[in-house]
């Protein structure tokens, strides 16, 4: 077979899928449980503004472990990784643009408290 297309080339090269040994999976799972404990523990200390970044950082490490080992992405076709990273990039794009915008107009927003606002609106009804 001399073609250059992805689907056919691999057909000649290796068997279906990559087998991940159980031991590696158990180590990954243990790491995830340890990191869960760490993140709960760390949350009891107050680092101020850094709190959320520490929590998200640990979650990102845990997420990477799941994606790379449980989901076999480490051994998978790179394009599947590209798909996944692209989706994350679009979420990041969405968050950054939407947040930039709301932070810009936030000073103009009326932050009235809902039950009181409701009350007031009810009074204004003819």
């Amino acid at each position: 077979m001399t073609d250059g297309t992805d689907g056919h080339k691999t057909g000649e090269q290796h068997a279906v899928g990559h087998i991940v040994p159980i031991s590696l999976l158990v180590v990954t799972g243990a790491g995830l449980l340890v990191l869960t404990a760490v993140t709960v523990l760390v949350a009891s200390f107050d680092f101020g503004a850094a709190n959320i970044w520490i929590a998200l950082g640990i979650a990102a490490v845990k997420g990477s472990l799941v994606v790379l080992f449980f989901m076999h992405l480490l051994w998978d076709r790179p394009f599947n990784g590209v798909i996944f990273v692209t989706s994350l990039a679009f979420v990041a794009l969405f968050i950054s643009f939407a947040m930039t915008d709301t932070f810009e107009y936030a000073p103009d927003m009326d932050t009235g408290d809902a039950p009181l606002v409701r009350q007031k609106l009810a009074e204004l009804e003819p």
Partner: protein, 575 residues
């Protein structure tokens, strides 16, 4: 057939001769269609359904136009008017234009062009058709729940507090379901293009239609889930009043617009990109000239897909979006013009010195070029912050997006329909009536919508039921009346053109001349199999060549079609 002689080492693919069994006659009965996994039949089912929805929504649009023809209330009450333009928009966008090219023509043509037997996931393909059907039923059933009058954008707070009509939730549910139908189509096509290319079909040998469908697939997969979650939030908000978008509860209505347009701007390119792909095919095939700048057109599709994610805020310049983001979005919006113009100039360069056949598909392609240029250039007015303040929510916007969606996307689709009609049905339509109808549609369309540019710049707001009475000066009413009258007459001409199209196409099914395998002289693979194609598309793997090199084909008078030149040897995989 008889002209093929022994000097030709590899005759035309045997499918020419083996055309006794095709995908239409392969199996029979209702269930053989309802449960089919054949991409061609699913494509035909989509085609019929989408065109029916187009007829319905087109009728709604005609009613709206007729009501607006004269000032004052004629035959539609304000509520009926609001309901009709909302349904016109919602059905046209979600039921017609978004699935039009990829799901109907794309489904039929894509695997054959690629040289595959089917799409990657045939069951998912059928499932996405039934999702479309359920979504259509949901959307139309909204009439029986009291209708919707919010406009197709379903902006809060109209859709949560403003409207007393009960159809918001059915329409929102329909959008969710149709979104997943669209996602599954796009997902299927991406995987098909990646995994089912036969030997020899490399990325840069693919016809440009496939590149545009691929770019569309990226948009469908990456943008559509966001509209899904948006309408879920809207349904929850409306049903239970949880206040996510309700400022009186601490929510943020601008956030709804961010959500909505994060999908709905890329959705505009879900509509236009496949049509651009069709135009690349039509222009090359019907001017019998190698496409100019293949790679530029291919990459500009992908560039448009990526840029389209970065510009959604240009719908929100006057929706209390912050000035900073207005400037950012305006600047990025202009950059979309670059890949779009790259395409247009490459098409023009392809036409230059081509031997142009002015048949119906080519006429539609030329109409596309004309109207897409207007659509794109008026987009610049709206993307400019200062002029948008004047033009926002006027008929200028209405005209602009009709030039894009109807004048470009749907005209491209109808051009493609004519181009592949012989392949799909195995019949030739009447070329004479085809040209007449195309002329009527072109003239009618421009009369309808070009006047609306003027109307909008004079200040006529969109979505108004009336333009007379208190608050309107008699001079203004008289002025707007003239333009509305012309616009409505134009829409009747356009409708006549579409009805004529329907008539001669349906007529051709019964009385049309049998189509040859290659009536236009196309080189892409779908012209190598019989018309209509056999059940498995190819009886033997097709030979992939340069799909825009038309010099190897010659006209056969007996067959009324093109085939391989007899003086050329035919080697598998030759250029």
């Amino acid at each position: 057939m008889t002209t093929i002689d022994a000097t030709n080492p590899v005759p035309e693919p045997p499918a020419y001769a083996a055309a006794t069994d095709n995908y239409l006659t392969h199996t029979r009965g209702f269930m053989s269609w309802a449960g089919t996994l054949d991409h061609k039949r699913i494509g035909v089912m989509y085609l019929v359904s989408v065109l029916s929805a187009f007829f319905l929504a087109g009728m709604f649009g005609m009613l709206v136009r007729t009501e607006l023809m004269r000032p004052g209330q004629d035959f539609l009450s304000q509520d009926q008017y609001n309901m009709l333009f909302t349904l016109h928009g919602a059905i046209m966008v979600f039921l017609v234009i978004i699935p039009s090219v990829p799901a109907s023509l794309g489904n039929f043509v894509l695997p054959i062009m690629l040289g595959a037997k089917d799409v990657a996931f045939p069951r998912l393909n059928l499932f996405s058709y039934y999702l479309w059907l359920i979504g259509a039923i949901c959307a139309i059933s909204s009439i029986f729940f009291g209708g919707v009058d919010t406009g197709w954008t379903l902006y809060v707070p109209y859709s949560t507090h403003g409207t007393t009509m009960g159809g918001v939730i059915p329409v929102a549910a329909a959008i969710f379901i149709l979104g997943f139908s669209s996602i599954f189509t796009g997902l299927n096509f991406i995987v098909t293009i990646h995994r089912l290319r036969p030997p020899g079909m490399t990325w840069f040998k693919m016809p440009l239609f496939l590149w545009s469908i691929y770019a569309t697939g990226i948009l469908q997969v990456m943008a559509t889930p966001v509209i899904g979650i948006t309408v879920v939030l809207l349904i929850v908000e409306r049903a239970f009043g949880i206040g996510i978008f309700d400022p009186s509860l601490g929510g943020d209505p601008i956030l709804f617009q961010h959500f909505f347009w994060f999908y709905s701007h890329p959705a505009v390119y879900i509509m236009i990109l496949p049509a651009m792909g069709i135009i690349s095919e039509l222009i090359a095939v019907h001017s019998h000239r190698h496409i100019f700048g293949y790679r530029f057109i291919a990459f500009s599709s992908v560039a448009i897909a990526i840029f389209s994610f970065l510009v959604w805020g240009h719908h929100m310049f006057l929706s209390s979006q912050s000035p900073l983001m207005n400037v950012v979005f305006s600047a990025i919006t202009f950059s979309v013009a670059i890949p779009s113009a790259v395409k247009v100039f490459n098409w023009l360069a392809t036409l230059y010195k081509g031997s142009i056949t002015l048949n119906t598909p080519m006429l539609y392609a030329l109409s596309f070029l004309f109207m897409f240029a207007i659509a794109g250039l008026t987009g610049l007015h709206l993307g400019t912050l200062a002029t948008d303040i004047h033009l926002h929510d006027t008929y200028f916007v209405v005209a602009h997006f009709h030039y894009t969606m109807l004048g470009s996307a749907l005209i491209g689709m109808i051009g493609g329909l004519h181009h592949w009609w012989p392949k799909i049905t195995g019949r030739m339509y009447s070329e004479f009536w085809g040209r007449i109808a195309c002329g009527l549609v072109f003239v009618g369309f421009n009369v309808t919508f070009f006047t609306q540019f003027v109307l909008g710049s004079l200040g006529m707001p969109r979505r108004y039921h009336d333009y007379s009475g208190p608050g309107w000066s008699p001079d203004t009413t008289a002025l707007f009346f003239k333009y509305h009258l012309v616009s409505t007459i134009g829409s009747y001409i356009m409708a006549l053109g579409f009805f004529l199209t329907a008539a001669y196409l349906i007529h051709s099914l019964f009385r049309g001349r049998k189509a040859p395998a290659n009536p236009w002289g196309g080189r892409s693979l779908e012209w190598q199999c019989a018309s209509p194609p056999p059940h498995d598309n190819f009886s033997e793997p097709p030979h992939v060549g340069d799909c825009y090199d038309f010099s190897v084909l010659e006209w056969d008078e007996a067959e009324q079609g093109y085939h391989w030149r007899h003086d050329l040897p035919r080697e598998p995989g030759e250029a």
